[in-house]
Amino acid sequence: MADDIFEEDRVSVAERMAAEALIVDVDGFEGPLDLLLTLSRTQKVDLRKISVLQLAHQYLAFVEKAKALRLELAADYLVMAAWLAFLKSRLLLPPDPTEEGPSGEELAAHLAFQLERLQAMRDCAARLMARDQLGRDFFARGQVETVERVKSVTYTATLLDLMQGYARIRTRDDFRPFILDRESVFTMEQALERMRGLIGYAGEWTEIVTYLPEGWDNDPVRRRSATAATFAASLELVKEGHLDIRQGESFGPIQLRKRGA
């Protein structure tokens, strides 16, 4: 039955060919709405004057043919087919006043609106892409001059800073530079000088403690420093060949003697 109507609608061979092509190329459609829009073009009328009933016939015939060809149709195509079948019945039957929901005319009008809107958007897209485009028809500056981000640092100082700075320098003169407090330090140089003077008399083995300078043996800090310096000086004199040094046992007394004595 649907087939019959379909055949009636088709007049020319070319259109029939086109319909065949539609079926073979079902994957080329972006969904049922796209397919409906393509089908509607075969009506060759302004989209506003389209016969939705006729379109429903066309679509249902398309689905039937696809099924006959065992083409796998996506679910939404079948949902649309079911809905269009429902719409068709609403449009064909006299309105049932007891029935709820929108009338067939309302539904048809909305479908027509959707198709018209989709077509309008396609036209817009085409017009948009036909516009002069940047980088194709008109061009931006080729030799861009980069905007330098200059971060300039300004240094500043006040007169007070200046005076304080100067005062700081001048105030420094009032203080002697920091030197280590050496009052309790007996240096090796001092010890060496002292030992050189005494060594000539060391014919016999003499304990190193007897060489400690006077007045350095009471305070433990001073004695430690004097002992260390004297010992270091003795080793230096041994190295120079002026002195012999010996220690009988660990922690035993250290004795010195003039070399060659």
Binding site: G31, G101, H110, M121, R127, M129, R131
Partner: protein, 218 residues
């Protein structure tokens, strides 16, 4: 005495003559490939300059020249005259070929903005693939607009200044055929009577029919 100081300050900040300001705007726009806002122009020009006024003069000066001063949204740029595009084969940049889906989606966003993904899908009758939106976002032709005040607070898409710049539009309102579409009611977000099958189905409680028209009506 205090008046003296005031006068002195005023003269210190006196703006350069407008002809000089025009030169400055010219130099800045010329040097930049990107559109520059009036605000940025003034930030770079000496204190007290009126870039908007200078632009009026400059635009007139370049009228009919090989290079034109064009307004793009809030910004200004210099672009070669479109009729001389044939000379620029060397400069032509191959833009990525957009799919039909991407072009349609772009057009829908441009004409219906701010528009949600669901609305785009309703118009196209198919779901919008993520890749399509991503590509347009990546090209910086679309960006996210503010969320719709409808259940779920869906994000919306709007076109960018780059889009306007690319297609030589001063404003989204200058889109070709916008008026006709609106008067034909084709930019309305008409809810379907009852329920529609497939992706056409929209939240029935969606109350925002004003959507796009609100954007274009100020």
């Amino acid at each position: 005495m205090s008046q003296d100081v005031e006068q002195k300050e005023e003269s210190l900040f006196e703006a350069p003559p407008i002809a000089e300001q025009e030169r400055m705007v010219e130099a800045i726009l010329f040097a930049s490939a990107e559109p520059v806002t009036v605000r940025e122009l003034e930030a770079r020009m000496p204190h007290g300059c009126d870039a908007a006024e200078a632009l009026v003069y400059l635009r007139k000066r370049y009228d009919g020249r090989g290079v034109n001063v064009t307004k793009i949204g809030d910004s200004w740029a210099m672009r070669t005259a479109a009729d001389l595009g044939f000379l620029m084969q060397k400069e032509t940049v191959e833009t990525r070929k957009l799919s039909r889906a991407a072009i349609e989606t772009l057009a829908i966003i441009a004409y219906h903005q701010p528009v949600t993904r669901a609305e785009i899908e309703e118009i196209r009758g198919v779901s919008v693939s993520r890749g399509t939106v991503d590509q347009l976002l990546e090209m910086e032709w679309i960006r996210f607009g503010r969320r719709k005040m409808t259940p779920g607070r869906p994000v919306t898409f709007v076109v960018t200044q780059n889009f306007l710049d690319h297609f030589g539009l001063e404003n989204a309102r200058d889109l070709p055929g916008l008026k006709e579409l609106r008067s034909a009611g084709l930019l309305e977000n008409r809810p379907p009577p009852g329920s529609m099958p497939g992706p056409c189905e929209v939240d029935e409680d969606e109350e925002t029919n004003e959507g796009q028209s609100e954007l274009f009506e100020d």
